[in-house]
């Protein structure tokens, strides 16, 4: 077996078992997307196709919501792309790890590089050899992908039955808080997180949700400057 296609079975099991609990908070997100597709009056199959064409919940939700509200198609596409532009930063952060990987994996891997997988892969990359990392990444990615296809389809059927007053979509920011806290190992990352949140809050009125990008970039800059003072 060549090195570029060998796998690590224990890393595959770990990838699946790490992905499962992280996916739970995405279930209400998937149900909300199903509900939005139904409420927007879109063709359910066309709306669901975004689950595998885009494979990104925030962009898919932005797209179906805007298309359903009668926004211009080009405006809906632009807004969805802006929401997903944060993946540029994930791509840059993951690039060093992917340098030791074969070409097929460098082409396939980015397709499943969602928020949750980025969080898992960042931790895994610190302590794994290339074969272990690749096995872990593909197993976790395939788990997220399969569950996402199933639960967004399920959302189209049962989404309308979830009472609005439960506000289950609040599980999404709660999940992000959990990921932030687990990832913080230096005080400079606290600076990046607090500044990122504060600037996004102040920029919330910017069009097409671009405040998210401004807040994230200023947060990264603040963390980098704080790191300079720390050294």
């Amino acid at each position: 077996m060549s090195q570029s296609t060998s796998i690590d079975r224990s890393a595959i099991r770990r990838g699946i078992t790490d992905a499962l609990p992280l996916y739970v908070p995405a279930v209400p997100f998937a149900l909300v997307i199903g509900l939005a597709i139904v409420e927007a009056g879109l063709n359910p199959l066309a709306g669901w196709s975004g689950s595998w064409l885009i494979f990104g919940g925030a962009a898919q939700l932005t797209l179906v919501t805007l298309l359903g509200s009668g926004a211009a198609v080009i405006a809906a596409i632009t807004a969805a792309l802006v929401v997903n532009a944060r993946h540029l930063m994930y791509s840059a952060a993951m690039a060093p790890t992917f340098q030791s990987q074969p070409a097929w994996f460098r082409w396939l891997g980015p397709y499943v590089l969602i928020d949750q997988l980025f969080a898992l892969a960042t931790i895994e990359a610190q302590e794994s050899d290339p074969v272990t990392f690749r096995s872990y990444y593909l197993a976790a990615g395939a788990t997220f992908w399969t569950l996402w296809q199933l639960t967004t389809a399920l959302g189209i059927f049962i989404g309308p039955a979830v009472p609005d007053e439960w506000n289950l979509e609040f599980a999404v920011p709660l999940l992000f808080i959990g990921l932030i806290v687990i990832g913080i190992d230096r005080w400079t990352k606290v600076v990046a997180a607090l500044v990122g949140a504060a600037v996004t809050y102040l920029a919330a009125g910017m069009p097409n949700r671009t405040g998210l990008l401004v807040g994230a970039l200023v947060g990264i800059l603040a963390g980098t400057i704080a790191e300079r003072f720390a050294r």
Partner: protein
């Protein structure tokens, strides 16, 4: 058909944003200053997302006492237990209880 084609366009753009540095920089070394900045991508983007998903189209942010209480309770839970499911149970419960009280 419009919905499907719009999803195709967003799908291509999303893949490109996830792939461009991995494919274009795969054979190149990234400067140290960039590497230092990259470690702040996750905390900065994730916290920006917290605010973004609470934002409304009119620029207001639904960040009140119930949300802040739930974030503190959820943050403390994940800090102590590292358990995301328990964090969601505690966070959602605090959110519902505080929202009912205030």
């Amino acid at each position: 058909m419009t919905t499907f084609m719009a999803s195709v366009v967003v799908g291509i753009g999303t893949y490109a944003s996830r792939a461009i540095f991995i494919l274009a920089l795969a054979k190149r070394r990234i400067p140290d200053t960039v590497m230092i900045s990259l470690q702040f991508v996750a905390p900065a983007v994730l916290s920006a997302l917290v605010i973004a998903v609470l934002s409304n189209d009119d620029g207001t942010v639904a960040l009140g006492i119930p949300e802040i209480a739930a974030f503190i309770a959820g943050g403390a839970t994940v800090y102590r237990t590292r358990n995301h499911i328990l964090t969601l149970v505690v966070g959602m419960t605090v959110f519902w209880v505080v929202r009912a009280l205030v």
